[in-house]
């Protein structure tokens, strides 16, 4: 495949003495050059775990990749050693974390933190002046006055901190940017600003982006492809059109759409998905969504569904077996 990032049958578990948490259970995903893939799912669906495994920064000791492969531009990520990984982290694949309040080191200035990545991945033996000017350039790019680089994170507002985090991630012009719920911790007005800025920057720098979110609104704004994740599996995958124009969806995706308030709808209540995400230490048999599914059939309880493909649209649900026939 001519894709930049290919994830195949990835399986990740968190292991402690007595419990095994099955966080990611056989995921297949790919991300092409300059594409934006939105990864949607509830809290605990395994989105962040997947992102951390791409950079191989899963929590030491507990987090383990037990199967599958990740291929980045021809490099088998999972077989690389730490030194080789360090050369990729922050330079070719960058990550933006969820909470800008805690993702910045409180004892280092903003400038020092942005500069760090540049110095770590400096292959051109930049002089101090060149590093400084690159810091200024990147701060300007995310809309921060370069004169503020001597400030500490606590002197910035939440939205500004997230800009700093983005600046850090972009400092080395990475090929892939993984954004893990970059706007969740921000208030709505700032969310829109940060999102459109990220979209612009993505275009400007020609990056690919893996955008992790639980907000379908965010996905609708900037994604080319969408993957819906549930209990460590991708249950539906497709292009933007497959999701927002087509109306055939996995029951879970339908539930997600039903959970969005609609101004034109006159009903007084939202239609949330009943129940909770299954316990990842004890996943249900058959289709993992069946205990919460309104269209659950007998087969769903015993046999895990296969993936049904229709053009670019892929759905993992027994319902689609019949629909294909129709």
């Amino acid at each position: 495949m001519g894709q930049l990032l290919n994830i195949k049958d990835l399986e990740v578990v968190y292991q402690t003495k007595n419990i095994v948490v099955e966080a990611v259970n056989g995921i297949n995903l790919s991300l092409g050059k300059k594409e934006t893939l939105g990864l949607v799912g509830e809290t605990g669906a395994g989105k962040t775990t997947m992102a951390l495994s791409i950079l191989k920064i899963l929590p030491e000791r507990t987090g383990k990749v037990i199967g599958g492969s990740i291929d980045f531009d021809g490099l088998p990520i999972l077989d690389l050693n730490e030194t080789e990984m360090r050369a990729i982290r922050g330079a070719r694949i960058s990550m933006i974390f969820q909470d800008p309040m805690t993702s910045l080191n409180p004892t280092l200035t903003v400038g020092e933190q942005v500069e760090e990545g540049i110095i770590l991945h400096d292959t051109e033996y930049k002089t101090k002046v060149e590093v400084k000017s690159r810091v200024d350039e990147i701060l300007e790019l995310v809309g921060i006055e370069p004169s503020r680089k001597k400030c500490y994170p606590h002197e910035f507002s939440g939205g500004m901190k997230q800009r700093v985090v983005i600046a850090m991630a972009l400092a080395c012009s990475p090929e892939v940017l993984i954004a893990d719920e970059p706007t969740t911790a921000l208030d709505v007005t700032i969310q829109a600003q940060v999102l459109s800025m990220m979209d612009d920057l993505k275009e400007k720098l020609g990056m690919s982006m893996l955008l992790i979110t639980h907000d379908l609104g965010v996905v609708a704004k900037i994604c080319d492809y969408v993957a819906v994740m549930y209990a460590g599996e991708i249950i539906e995958y497709g292009t933007f059109e497959d999701f927002f124009i087509n109306h055939k969806h996995h029951p879970y995706t339908k539930g997600l759409f039903g959970s969005i308030p609609n101004i034109r709808d006159r009903s007084k209540r939202l239609n949330p998905i009943e129940g909770l995400m299954p316990d990842p230490t004890n996943l249900p048999m058959g289709c993992k969504f069946h205990p919460r599914c309104k269209q659950c059939m007998e087969i769903c309880k015993v046999k895990p569904p296969q993936i049904y493909v229709n053009g670019t649209h892929r759905v993992k649900c027994h319902l689609f077996e019949k629909q294909e026939v129709e």
Partner: protein, 308 residues
């Protein structure tokens, strides 16, 4: 910043007055009349009464307290009942030994405790970590006078390489300082380990990892500065404990410090000396706490911002 320091220095005054009041009252209600102790059990009641009159001990407590306070602000701590010499001179002469002991002990415990604690946290659950934590537990559990005697037995009596008591050269300090520093180092080690492990779980450490920083860089540049704050506080508290602890250590090693002065004064009910020694220790403790707060500001920019 200067304003803050000045404010904190001014705070010392009311706290000091309160401390003096407390010590004054406690000594007042303890049994034993100083005049009786000074003159001996055989002295006549008349003589005792006269001396009480002379020392002003028959005046009401509040009057004596105020009179004493007025003296303290002129650095006049009264006359020792025992030696009849001014207390201030006696304390001043013995103070350097105690300070030297405590400072050396704090520095030693920091120099041992912090690096080993970091090492323990970084290699957590390894054999090295376990041996550090277990020996720290043992060291923290044994009473330090016993540790002092054991060190004396080994290094002075068996090996004969270090003096067992008294002062003279720097080598006289080694055993008492070690005796004080080892349990405190054990405490610092455990503290540093715990805090360092918690710091390593923070989001900004993950951010640093995602940037491609090496483990050494993550520890020294990103984690240590953040972890050091709470450790610094406990170092300060340790220092206070060590100052009080010199009482025992000075007795074990026969060192002429403030601890032995207090001990002697207590046996004699030499009130002016006890008072003065307590005040000295209290002021010193407050100054050290201030110093630590100032160091905070240099480590954590968020705290520095509050001082402005």
């Amino acid at each position: 910043m200067y304003k803050y320091v000045l404010k904190r220095l001014l705070y010392i005054l009311p706290i000091l007055m309160l401390i003096i009041l407390i010590v004054f009252s406690i000594l007042n209600v303890t049994p034993g009349n100083p005049a009786r102790i000074m003159l001996g059990a055989d002295a006549s009641q008349e003589l005792v009464d006269n001396l009480n009159e002379e020392l002003g001990l028959n005046k009401p407590l509040i009057q004596r307290y105020l009179g004493y306070l007025a003296g303290v602000f002129r650095l006049d701590f009264g006359i020792s009942y025992r030696s009849q010499a001014p207390v201030f001179n006696e304390i001043l002469g013995n103070f350097p030994t105690t300070i030297r002991l405590a400072v050396f002990a704090v520095l030693t415990s920091a120099l041992i405790g912090i690096p080993l604690g970091v090492l323990s946290a970084v290699r957590r659950y390894s054999l090295m970590d376990m041996s550090f934590t277990v020996s720290a537990l043992v060291l923290a559990s044994i009473p330090n006078f016993w540790l002092g005697i054991m060190l004396m037995l080994i290094f002075s009596l068996r090996l004969g390489i270090l003096p067992s008591g008294g002062i003279g050269s720097l080598s006289h300090y080694i055993l008492p300082v070690l005796t004080m520093a080892l349990p405190s180092a054990a405490y610092i080690l455990r503290m540093t380990r715990t805090i360092m492990m918690e710091t390593m779980r923070q989001d900004y450490i993950r951010t640093a990892k995602a940037k491609g920083a090496s483990p050494a860089r993550i520890i020294f540049r990103h984690a240590l500065k953040n972890a050091l704050l709470p450790v610094l506080t406990s170092l300060g508290m340790n220092f206070a404990q060590l100052l009080g602890g010199t009482l025992i250590i000075e007795a074990v090693f026969g060192l002429p410090g403030i601890g032995s002065v207090i001990l002697k004064a207590m046996q004699m009910k030499d009130v002016p000396v006890i008072m003065a020694a307590t005040i000295f220790l209290a002021v010193l403790f407050m100054l050290i706490m201030l110093l630590i707060d100032i160091m905070y500001a240099y480590i954590d920019p968020r705290i520095k911002a509050q001082f402005k």
